[in-house]
Symmetry: C2
Subunit: 250 residues, 2 copies
């Protein structure tokens, strides 16, 4: 049976999603805990390989099992064994071989900035503290240039190994709620470090160190050096993954 | 020189504010760090002795020093040495002998509940996860009975050692923002565990295990057993302390 799960986590204490030799990852904890729960070796695969320190409200993981536990009961049973910083939100039976990476989908990410003079301990794990003034109207105007289909070479880590840098952004906004600025982007896929580079560029725009046109100029340049720095991981949260087929039925 | 500071902290990893033999406290970290910074033995005293695991955006601490550093520079200098889960928001010179406990003041506390089926890792440190339905309208109606001057014996830990259980609540509300329910109370003072007992009682009201009149009935009973359980510490945050004299000038 193929099982899919929606997985939320606080990335603070993990070396990202994907298994690696030098630190604990979300994938490794899920493999170990599922293997204990189901009594067989389980290997999960994820929709997004989030980086060290990045959070998620709903990454998607899939795996195969021979266990007879109903797929929708696995979320609750697994949560009893998982550490508090990882929580399965929902589990369901998926078609054989189904994988979120092979499905047309929309992902939404948020990058949160704490924009005030002094740091705030209760926000430190889930925001990037930036204490210079930021003009949210300029940032929101600039981010609109991302909407549509573009070559995002300038907004990808030079370490990216992909065939195509073309992605489509459906919606993008920058809003302020008190001291918290939220950069929100929805697209059909994101390159390595893409949202963090978008955030780093927008912060320079908001602080008047770059013109409001520089997102458009960076897209045209197709060169990583044309965009701003990569903003720190702690501000980034993967909000949701939705299959296009589900969007159509709404 | 008397110095006052507004102190924010994430209480997760501390045994509360007040120094005690069995664990690290906010007060102890402030004493140690201030003594290092100013090169003399510093002893702080706080407005609220918050409990283990309780957070604050603005507790007030005072201390005396012979150091010549301008009082308003101490906040920034101290933050360079403090751990990330404690942050001074502001520091200023106060009159000789001034102490927030001897000043007529208003304190505001918030108790935050994550009200959804599954736990959410990125909210776990700052909310209490309660997964049964809660009727916020009933909770908000019930909490209004707290407003005014009352004997709060029923809403104080039996361990309270005070001369009077009379306190005045100026404002109280229960609101919902998505999955988060916020209980907010402003008063001239709070007894030991008072806001957590208010929260525990309101949760039972919101879940229909107590009538909406039970806050009023508990006040009249003047007996701890007439109120609900003490809700867990992690949901509680001290939001602000304001001197009445400052309120009058606004």
């Amino acid at each position: 049976m193929r099982v899919a799960m929606r997985v939320a986590y606080d990335g603070t204490n993990y070396c990202g999603w994907q298994i690696q030799p030098n630190g604990l990852t979300i994938e490794e904890v899920l493999n170990t805990t599922l293997s204990e729960l189901l009594g067989e070796k389980i290997v999960v695969s994820g929709a997004s390989r989030t980086d060290t320190g990045v959070h998620s409200l709903g990454n998607i993981a899939v795996f195969d099992t021979n266990h007879r536990m109903p797929a929708d009961k696995i979320a609750y049973a697994l949560n009893q064994r998982l550490p508090e910083d990882i929580s399965i939100q929902e589990s369901w039976e998926a078609p054989e071989g189904w994988h979120p990476r092979f499905v047309k989908s929309r992902k939404t990410y948020e990058y949160r900035i704490l924009n005030r003079r002094m740091p705030l301990p209760t926000e430190r794990l889930y925001t990037y503290h930036y204490h210079y003034p930021l003009d949210v109207d300029k940032m929101n105007a600039a981010i609109q240039d991302l909407v549509g289909e573009h070559d995002f070479t300038s907004f990808a880590s030079v370490k990216s190994q992909v065939n195509s840098f073309t992605r489509t952004i459906y919606e993008a906004s920058v809003t302020r709620d008190g001291d918290i600025i939220v950069i929100r982007v929805t697209g059909n896929g994101f390159l390595y470090n893409m949202v963090r580079i978008i955030a780093g560029t927008l912060i320079e725009i908001g602080n008047d160190r770059r013109p409001v046109t520089s997102i458009r100029e960076a897209l045209e340049a197709k060169n990583r050096s044309a965009a701003g720095p990569t903003a720190p991981a702690e501000g980034l949260t993967m909000i949701s993954w939705t299959a296009e087929e589900n969007l159509l039925t709404h």
